[in-house]
Symmetry: C2
Subunit: 503 residues, 2 copies
């Protein structure tokens, strides 16, 4: 598991962070060396067990090898694979188009059984993106011994009208996501995986949908751009890609409801019961909204108060599309890095993340980063949509559902500072000796997090966490989270109340 | 006292605020009418008493009037006036160049004895700026009856070298300021006066000096502007006023140590024991720093990370001037409104506030708004001064004076959200019936405060405060505080724990 960090640093293009806090963990650090040694011994012991099981399987494979070489494997759909998520039902995973039954390996997994079970029923690739130690030939070889089948070719999604279910056309999802709601689909990254890697793998990135996922044909897709003072544009996907320079921004998106379940522990609140995983970081690629607005002739400065309204291709049963808006100043500002994105972590946008084009508004609540973008409209007013006018607003604690007046509060734009603990999980047993605490920290508004304080005694005393990963950013453009870690000795048998606070 | 608000609104150029919170106090509001009625009765009763005392004094004045009309009054210095600050020592005040003994009027003062005593020993003008009800002919007439002398012409300040006291040349200050330190002079506005008026009168504006106040001859004053990529400027005061358009900005300045005394109640901390008054709001006038930098040829954008360093004419015994810096991007940004100010609330800068020129950096900690500005230098590094490098930085609670490493933390620039209660004062008796709570709210970074919540039960339940005064501002340029108020019924004999929280 320790090799993952060295591999991630080696593979990434990021510069090491400047010195923060008390000390910094680096591959050359003596403490890191000790930990690698311990991990190697553990891996060796588990490897021995794995080797024994491996030897047995090799024997059986050698027998099977006497069968004709063009062995045909049974075909399985992703849905069928998804039913095999526990030792009782067998634990199946996929890699590429191959299906594997890894039930007998679960307890031998060097990373622990729990970690492997997070992938159960789905693809291994996003997990191997988090833990690069798997990207070695012998691991694939080991895996091959567990092959039991192959994936059927993906079927066209059913027609929602025919299925009489507006959500029938939704794309398949990785079973490893923690689901709050299926229809519409709302799910988050498992908390223990959040801080394992700076960029969140697409398949495990939190998904927050208000409506069914639209099925968009990329060939006939057109993005409409219009408004007073500019000419109307109708851009195809290839025009968007070729006419405007591609700009890349590493940005964290967070749902306004992230960590809501913690609020509900104080006082029950309505809304999706997100844990700490309604947040993720990706390298987004697309056209600058600024470039598109200027190309349409809207100008850098507009007298008075203007807004840029976004409409999605997802619509409610009455036909009203999801909509949101941001102030014109942010939309056209070079330093605000607002994108009309068509790439997510180097791949085309997945359907759940807005294929073919979505807005990405760095530093601002996720709700304004409209997915399945259909229309951009410059307007003298904010978006009239329900989600801009009567949702995503904050009120006094004295306000309740019977007294709320949405017109009396402004729409949420920039989010405040945030941090969370991804490891250990609440209630976990604390191993005697040294405790490792891990987490993420981020602020809206492009404001750099300069420090994370961690307390192990409920806030009575504090220590400074060290940075594990982050990206250097220009002043006011720190759009991405930073991952932090604290290691501290703990006495056996003590109860530890961990608090984190980002500055 | 109620007439003050109507008068202030009538006199000011500000637009009424848009509706916030539950309701808004306006002159036409029925609740306001009731309160005016009650105040009128009270004033009438006190007026009767005042009229009786007035009648007696008229009799004596009529007697004195038989004396020759060219009566010569004794002359007093401001220092002498300043010794008469209590009924025992007599209560003296000045208005213009006249000195008045108002001891017999203190208990008859419609605004209460305490309020009048705040002005004791000094000029009435700043208090009459806060309470415009005084600006009526009959009030001046009443005051004249108490005249006992005239001010000596102001003397030139003593020479610090001759007096062997580096602070001997400091200007006179209003005795009404609450002093934390005399040398260097550090004093704040009395808390109960802070929220009485949107603009803080110059004489009562908090003063935070690190060093003696320099004596600057405006005729020979030259502001030096220099740095790589620009030509050197040496600007006289009249050149600064005439060569660049005057830009006005209403901005609140706050000391980083404001409210420190509240921290010390939790854990003793070093530093000036400010109450809640190390903050004030003024209309500043001057040249845009942007205009001066562009005139010197520095350019709108500079590749890499640049800073603009400010040096004051105040210097420590070793000769090192007070210094601070801000990032170049903020210095040159039109929307950041950074000024080289020579006016404060329509008057030339008082000596304690930086005469003849100071920097004003809206939304940023007061320490960067360098007074008695001598030099502006564009630089690839932050200011090397002690106060930029080894002061005005934040650390983890686990850091103390023996372990602090200033190089590990960034210099404070934008301040966070802030609010405070100016009335009632801690420990005050709560009158039965309706309790009025007043205060101010502000955020650094030009971020608009959208709401203030107030609790009367230590945070268990909350109410929304209403806005009393503020200025509408463009998005991201809300540089000035907002004054708020809450009125709520309270049962007699209850203990009330008031908490305020700005959003």
């Amino acid at each position: 598991m320790l090799l993952l960090r060295a591999a991630a640093i080696a593979a990434g293009r990021r510069l090491p962070l400047p010195r923060r806090g008390c000390s910094r963990l680096t591959p050359g650090n003596p403490a890191a060396g000790e930990r690698r040694g311990a991990a190697a011994v553990l891996a060796a012991l588990l490897g021995l067990g794995a080797a024994l099981a491996y030897g047995e399987r090799r024997r059986r494979v050698a027998q099977a090898a006497q069968a004709p070489p063009s062995r045909r494997y049974p075909r399985y759909t992703r849905e069928e694979v998804g039913r095999h998520r526990s030792p009782q039902d067998r634990v199946w995973v996929t890699h590429g188009t191959d299906v594997f039954d890894v039930t007998d390996f679960v307890e031998l997994h060097p990373g622990g059984a729990e970690k492997l079970l997070l992938a159960a029923g789905g693809a291994l690739e996003p997990f191997w993106a988090l833990y690069a130690v798997h990207n070695q030939p012998h691991v694939l070889e080991l895996l091959r011994e567990f092959k039991v089948g192959e994936l059927s070719p993906d079927e066209a999604p059913p027609d929602p009208a025919a299925a009489q279910d507006p959500f029938a056309g939704d794309p398949p999802r990785h079973p490893g996501l923690r689901v709050s709601s299926r229809k519409p689909f709302n799910a988050e990254t498992p908390a223990e995986l959040l801080a394992e890697r700076f960029l969140t793998p697409n398949e495990l990135f939190f998904t927050r949908n208000h409506l069914p996922v639209p099925a968009v044909d990329p060939g006939s897709y057109r993005l409409r751009v219009e408004g007073p003072g500019g000419r109307v544009l109708s851009l195809s996907l290839s025009e968007l890609r070729s006419r405007f320079p591609k700009h890349e921004v590493t940005a964290t998106l967070q749902c306004a409801g992230n960590r809501r379940s913690e609020m509900s522990r104080v006082r029950p609140v309505k809304g999706l019961p997100w844990d700490i995983g309604a947040i993720g970081t990706a390298r987004w690629g697309g056209a600058r909204l600024r470039d598109v607005l200027l190309h349409a002739g809207f100008g850098e400065e507009r007298a008075g108060e203007w807004h840029v309204c976004f409409e999605g291709l997802d619509a409610d049963p009455g036909g009203a599309p999801y909509g949101a808006s941001i102030p014109y100043g942010r939309a056209v500002s070079p330093g605000a890095d607002v994108l009309l994105a068509y790439e997510m972590n180097g791949e085309e946008l997945p359907r759940d993340h807005g294929f073919p084009v979505r807005v990405v508004v760095p530093g601002v609540v996720g709700a304004r980063s409209v997915k399945w973008l259909g229309r951009v409209a410059v307007s003298a007013a904010e978006s009239p949509s329900h989600w801009q006018q009567n949702d995503y607003k904050g009120f006094s604690p004295c306000v309740d559902w019977d007294s709320v007046d949405y017109s009396a509060a402004p729409a949420i734009q920039e989010l405040p500072v945030q941090s969370a603990i991804t490891h250990p999980r609440p209630g976990a047993a604390v191993p005697p000796g040294e405790l490792t605490v891990k987490g993420y920290a981020w602020s809206g508004g492009g404001r750099d997090v300069v420090r994370v304080d961690v307390s192990l005694d409920g806030g009575r005393s504090w220590r400074v966490a060290r940075w594990v990963e982050g990206e250097r950013a220009a002043l006011g453009r720190a759009w991405a989270w930073k991952l932090w870690e604290l290691r501290a000795p703990v006495a056996a048998g003590t109860e530890v109340e961990i608090v984190c606070k980002a500055v």
